[in-house]
Symmetry: none
Amino acid sequence: MTGETVLVIEDTPAIGRALRAALEARGYHAVLAMTGKDGIDAAAVSDPGAIILDLGLPDMDGRDVCRRIRTWSDVPIIVLTVDDSEQRKVETLDIGADDYVTKPFSTPELLARVRVALRRGRAVDGEPPDPILTVGDVVVDVPHHRVQVAGEDVELTPKEFAFLALLARYPGRVLTHRAILQEVWGPEYGSETQYLRVYASQLRKKLGEDPSAPRLVTEPGVGYRLVDRAAIPEP
Amino acid sequence: MTGETVLVIEDTPAIGRALRAALEARGYHAVLAMTGKDGIDAAAVSDPGAIILDLGLPDMDGRDVCRRIRTWSDVPIIVLTVDDSEQRKVETLDIGADDYVTKPFSTPELLARVRVALRRGRAVDGEPPDPILTVGDVVVDVPHHRVQVAGEDVELTPKEFAFLALLARYPGRVLTHRAILQEVWGPEYGSETQYLRVYASQLRKKLGEDPSAPRLVTEPGVGYRLVDRAAIPEP
DNA sequence: GCCCGGTATCAAGAAGCCGTCAAGCAGTTG
DNA sequence: CAACTGCTTGACGGCTTCTTGATACCGGGC
């Protein structure tokens, strides 16, 4: 979750503070650097999702800052400067900047361009694989909302599914009555243990439980847990 | 290697020709479209690495063109327009444009911004999503807003289409009521599940669903999913 | 053998969700 | 302004799921 950090490299205190305030008002985490050296450091340390870079820095040429950051990072860089010349714009964009905004700038527009930059940056990282929970021969595919036991599809009601998915998320561990009730039924339920008995019973039926080798194990007076039948029972 | 194609959607012949010449002089393959409809077609067919889009088109609002292309593609879009009002800029960037250049523009600067766009586009590259989604005998052509079932064209309203296209993008996967409502109707809708029932019903009618082998499956209490009727249920 | 706390199972009524129809409304087009 | 299209909303029957109470079960302590 580093994508929502925006690094501002800007030596004029008034502009830097204004940008930080505007960014933070929008919910971003803003990091402010006032020199090129600090900016490069901050780019490496804070791993921002986008950078706003003023070209007119006291200690080094802003374009060198851009080049330096580009040697190791593809983070979107929005350049901010008073220089409106076409040649300078082309040069700057070609050394790796993603956008070029001239001062005086409109804050809403700059923020919109920051959103574009963050949007682009996020798109790079691939989507995470589907989290599929497996406990023994029980497979709980949460995104697809599907359950299989020994390769066979099993139809579950929403509450049944939530119950099983919760247990499957903590394989082998006991979940207390209270914890299950609050997670599946809601925070105001905590003592309706009868629900659990009913649903545990229904689940066992649907899972095709063998009473001598249960997958859904009762911990009397405590709660329930889901175990891998093939696992070694002795610790 | 389609990344070096640039699509220009521009109705003024002089500007279109000038841009094409400038792009081809730089070694890019330029495709020119003079209407929004043609532009959307070309975006789907020629799979460009970047798009230059004039907002002032004769047949439709340029922002709608942008939105439409964004329904299936992340190709960088550089918007070109005479309107330099801040509000319009912010709006346009927020609906998915990557850059905003006002006329009269500097050709070298625009070309530099095209280079940025192509650079970014390549970096993102993963795998381009197919703009034509197929789930069993249901074919959803997102760019053309066209749907076929078993080879037969089916007429859908915009909301129906958005609903179906969303489901088709995640074949077999359950999309929750909330997710569908927010994607199709907007973020402020989240609990109007009645809409879903009405539209699911209409869709099933138009898709010619067989109640015993539904393509659009209800996941009670959770959401809906689109399945390939012929598919084997084993993962 | 009997009691007792906790558990499993069953079944019936209540509640909620789903599919469908149809009427009202708003925006567009000719 | 009339016809049309698509969106929203209310009503209602049918069905699934949830809840709840009744009853049987099981193991340990006495």
